[in-house]
């Protein structure tokens, strides 16, 4: 069985990519949005969020820009790059296949 963090890390990436696909946002907002959209089920903590954001930036899938936030303070806004969009599509498809397969096994027997 792979390390739990691997699985979680991978899904956090996917969630982040999907969230900022709609519009660029800063880390705090991404966490909030994920909470909202999952009906409070998925709570991405800071310790998982920021490492993931930095990794995605390193990969070149997201890019960052410093802007003034709604609370009138400076914040780092992330947006998808072109490569990121492609990665998102790929990750999403993979997730679908994976979760479908798991569901298949779990639901039977």
């Amino acid at each position: 069985m792979s390390k739990p963090t691997d699985l979680v890390q991978g899904t956090v990436d996917l969630l982040i990519l999907k969230t900022i696909a709609i519009e660029p946002m800063h880390g705090w907002a991404i966490a909030q949005r994920i909470r909202q959209m999952s009906n409070e089920v998925l709570q991405v903590g800071q310790s998982a969020l920021y490492p993931a954001l930095h990794k995605l930036e390193q990969e070149g899938w997201i890019e960052a820009e410093w802007k003034t936030s709604e609370s009138n303070r400076r914040a780092k806004y992330y947006s998808l790059t072109r490569a990121g969009r492609k990665a998102l599509a790929k990750e999403a498809t993979q997730w679908e296949r994976l979760s479908a397969a798991i569901s298949l096994i779990v639901r039977t027997a």
Partner: protein, 871 residues
């Protein structure tokens, strides 16, 4: 990438980002109604450990290999700084090794590979002629031979001809002077592919007879006599009395055929009435697609035809050499190869030394390595870091050595042993720098590899435990170090033997005077050229030289004065064959070519050349008396079997030469005219009163140092006629010294290398024995407590060193026996297996080793048994 170059900025941003998140979290808390500090506390708790978070972010950003390397470098530099003694010792050893190699590389590269400043220089060849009995391997040809070659030539484009000669330059405001010059055919400059600095070079057809004399100057003489003014073009100067129009100036970088060649004039190709004189060499460019071997083959055929046309040419060859080979001469390459090999050996010894130092240090750093491994460092990372450290060390050594290399190269350029034109190609530039970096990095990896792997293999358990004194590991390491020291000793012994051989050979050379017994510092010589064309006429010239001798003899301090056209040890004036009266020679048969000297009567006395039989020349041997000659001892023995020499008659040059018969009136001792290392060839002398040349050497002997007389003599002689020029003024002492200038250089450099090697080997063994003594402190303490005398301790320590040295010496002798044959061409009067040298070098090594082991041995005796046992 940003994370690499804007480290602080990126870190600040991360702080800011996390800070923002924290604040929003607090705001949320506040919005829920919590008091500020509680909200903050809750926020912090929710956020988790910030440091770890930051660490995780950093980790995610990834660390590139550049960052790793920079970290390694920083770490390595710190480690080196902490251990300053080691670092300095290693850097010095490496500086010596790498510096010497870089210098040697510059020389070798400049001489052997750097492209010459001519267009396609590797397509240019020089053509010589050699035939029996004029057996100089790379000898000269005559104009007639050149014309035959040119007619049949197909392999070369535009064969050209040249000769060197001394030229009296006069005719403008400055005083006349004598320079080295060359007379060349019209295609000479275009064959070599060089463009003039200003003006032009010779045009096609300017070597036809009847063309006026034209001159091309070198930059140096142009600056000297014309102040580098462009209006020098078109002016006329006198070259050996002939008015010549200056048509161009060549750059200083063009030095052909000799380094000192300053004037080139056009050679009028008058159809020669006969063969000879043989003053010339050919230079030509290979046609596209033709190789040197093919050209040589074609030229060999032409040589056959030449022999058919001239029965006196026997075993005729036309050797063809590439331009570079021609410029190098035949003694430089072997010497260069030997010295390059030697310096490589020195570097090897330095590397072994540093490797030894590193192994010693590795033992000390065992705990540090073990600690890092236990904290999770990857072994590969550790190895890489240690290698980075050793490469850093090597590069530091290399950069330090650069100063040494630069000094060495400048010295060699200034010295220019052998007076090679190629010396201009020797310089310390980017090629040398790249070489230095390459060598530094390679040596760094070389000596760092073993210790690095060793360290990374550290067994954690035993290392962290106190002392880490694993017997097995310690022993292998000790054996490795001992082996390294043995190899150092062996290698430096080989160099010692080589240097010893060269030293003895050089001393032999220096001992060669060349056949005269007057102390060389008592003889001063100079080349006189009357300068004025009127002195080409014999009576006027003879009168001139009589005046020269009269004035010279009047200078206070001058015991004897004489004139000659040849000087020992290597300034041969003329060489020719001869005919013996009564000897029957078949058509095409000739006596061997020997040295021919024209001299006044005082020459033999001035040099104190011994008289074996008969008499010397006198003043009465002149135009009005019977023609006479004197022969050398070797001549008498070889051609007359030493019987009935006096009274026999010989003739200068070949049977058909039209010269007069000369009666042999004396036999004198052998004198060398072809160089100190060459076997003395037979010679015959003709009196100056009966054979006139315009240019003669003046020889004066004094009772003390003859050099003091130079200035006065100059003044006296130059005042005879304003056109007189003097050149090559110097004592015989200086001439003898110059004649061995190249062997001197080779010997000194090899001795220097051997000395460095010996020093490094001594330091190596010193280090090993010191370390061994330190390791055995306990044991020594026990021995002393049990009653061992100081002498016993010393003996024990020295024996350890002596054993290593013995093995090293045996190996070194073996290596030397195998390799010294490479020195064969460089040795004079000594065998490549000279027993004295082979016995003496180990002796020297033993002394050095004894000294090196004595210090630690003495230190061992000062170990207090009480202290030692306590540990």
């Amino acid at each position: 990438m940003r994370s690499l170059f804007r480290r602080t900025e990126v870190e600040q941003e991360l702080d800011e980002e996390l800070q923002y998140h924290l604040e929003r979290q607090i705001d949320e808390g506040l919005a829920k109604g919590l008091p500020r500090d509680e909200a903050r506390y809750a926020a912090l708790r929710a956020l988790g450990a910030i440091t770890q978070n930051k660490e995780a972010c950093r980790a995610m950003r990834g660390v590139s290999w550049i960052e790793n390397t920079m970290q390694d470098l920083r770490y390595g530099a710190r480690a080196l700084r902490k251990n300053l003694a080691f670092t300095i010792a290693a850097v010095l050893a490496l500086a010596l090794g790498i510096g010497a190699n870089t210098a040697m590389f510059s020389v070798a590269y400049g001489m052997l590979w750097r492209p010459l400043p001519y267009v396609d220089a590797d397509r240019v060849a020089v053509v010589y002629m050699s035939y029996f009995p004029r057996d100089f391997r790379f000898g000269t040809m005559s104009v007639r031979d050149y014309l035959i070659w040119r007619e049949d030539n197909r392999a070369f484009e535009n064969p050209s001809l040249f000769r060197t000669l001394r030229m009296d330059i006069g005719g403008n405001i400055d005083a006349p002077e004598q320079v080295q010059g060359a007379s060349v055919t019209a295609g000479f400059f275009s064959t070599l592919g060089v463009q003039p600095l200003i003006g032009r070079t010779f045009r096609v057809g300017e070597d036809k007879p009847g063309t006026g004399s034209r001159a091309v100057l070198s930059e140096s003489i142009w600056r000297r006599r014309f102040g580098a003014r462009p209006d020098a073009l078109g002016q006329t100067i006198l070259v050996n009395g002939v008015p010549s129009v200056i048509i161009g100036v060549m750059r200083d970088s063009f030095r052909f055929p000799r380094r000192e060649t300053e004037v080139w004039t056009n050679l009028p190709l008058n159809p020669p009435p006969r063969y000879g004189p043989w003053f010339y060499r050919g230079v030509a460019r290979l046609k596209p697609g033709v190789t040197l071997q093919q050209a040589q083959a074609e030229v060999n055929n032409i040589a056959l035809r030449m022999m058919q046309r001239n029965p006196y040419y026997k075993r005729l060859t036309l050797p063809v050499l590439s331009l570079r080979e021609a410029l190098l001469g035949n003694s430089v390459k072997p010497a260069l190869l030997v010295l390059t090999g030697a310096v490589g050996l020195v570097l090897l010894i330095a590397v072994v030394n540093v490797a030894n130092l590193m192994l010693a240090r590795a033992t000390v750093r065992k705990r540090e390595m073990a600690l890092r491994l236990s904290l999770g460092a990857a072994r590969a990372r550790l190895v890489r870091q240690l290698l980075t450290e050793s490469v850093l060390l090597a590069v530091m050594g290399g950069v330090t050595g650069l100063a040494l290399a630069w000094g060495g190269v400048e010295l060699i350029r200034a010295w220019n042993p052998g007076n090679l034109p190629l010396i201009d190609s020797v310089r310390l530039d980017w090629t040398a720098l790249s070489f230095m970096i390459l060598v530094s990095v390679s040596t760094g990896v070389l000596f760092g590899l073993a210790p690095a792997f060793e360290s990374a293999r550290t067994d954690l358990n035993s290392a962290i435990k106190e002392g880490g004194r694993t017997q097995a590991a310690g022993q292998t390491r000790g054996r490795t170090r001992a082996t390294l020291v043995i190899s150092e000793i062996a290698a430096s012994l080989m160099l010692l033997v080589g240097a010893g051989l060269l030293l003895r050979s050089f001393m032999n050379l220096r001992a060669v005077t060349g056949g005269f017994s007057t102390p060389s510092r008592q003889i001063l010589t100079m080349l006189i050229s009357p300068g004025n064309a009127k002195y080409n006429d014999v009576p006027a010239g003879t009168a001139f030289y009589s005046e020269v001798l009269r004035r010279a003899r009047n200078v206070p301090g001058v015991e004897m004065a004489a004139l000659t056209d040849s000087l020992p040890p290597d300034r041969q004036g003329d060489a020719d064959t001869f005919t013996v009266e009564g000897q029957s020679l078949a058509l095409g048969e000739m006596n061997p070519v020997v040295s021919v000297i024209t001299a006044t009567s005082g020459l033999f006395q001035a040099f104190r050349i011994p008289l074996v039989k008969g008499r010397y020349f006198t003043e009465h041997d002149n135009q009005d008396s019977k023609p006479v000659a004197i022969v050398s001892e070797g001549f008498a023995r070889r051609f007359f079997s030493n019987q009935n020499v006096l009274g026999r008659r010989i003739k200068h040059s070949g049977p058909g030469s039209g010269e007069q018969w000369m009666e042999i009136v004396g036999v004198v001792g052998n004198v060398k005219y072809l160089g100190p290392a060459v076997d003395t060839d037979p010679a015959y002398y003709m009196p100056f009163g009966q054979k006139y040349y315009t240019r003669m050497f003046l020889v004066v002997r004094s009772s003390g140092d003859a050099g003091r007389l130079a200035m006065l003599l100059r003044q006296e002689i130059q005042s005879i006629d304003p056109g007189v020029t003097l050149a090559q003024i110097g004592t015989m002492e200086r001439a003898l010294s110059l004649s061995v200038s190249q062997p001197r250089f080779d010997t000194m450099v090899l001795t220097l290398f051997a000395g460095i090697a010996l020093l490094l080997a001594a330091v190596g063994i010193y280090g090993l024995i010191s370390y061994s003594v330190a390791q055995r402190t306990h044991e020594i303490g026990v021995r002393m407590a049990l009653g061992a005398a100081q002498a016993d301790i010393v003996r024990m320590v020295v024996r350890q060193g002596a054993l290593l040295a013995a093995i090293g010496i045996v190996l070194g002798l073996g290596g030397a026996l195998a390799l010294t044959h490479l020195l064969r061409t460089m040795l004079f009067g000594i065998d490549v297996r000279d027993p004295l040298t082979f016995a003496g070098a180990p002796l020297g090594m033993i002394v050095a080793v004894l000294l090196a082991t004595l210090l630690p041995a003495l230190r061992a005796t000062r170990i207090s048994p009480v202290v030692a046992l306590r540990d």
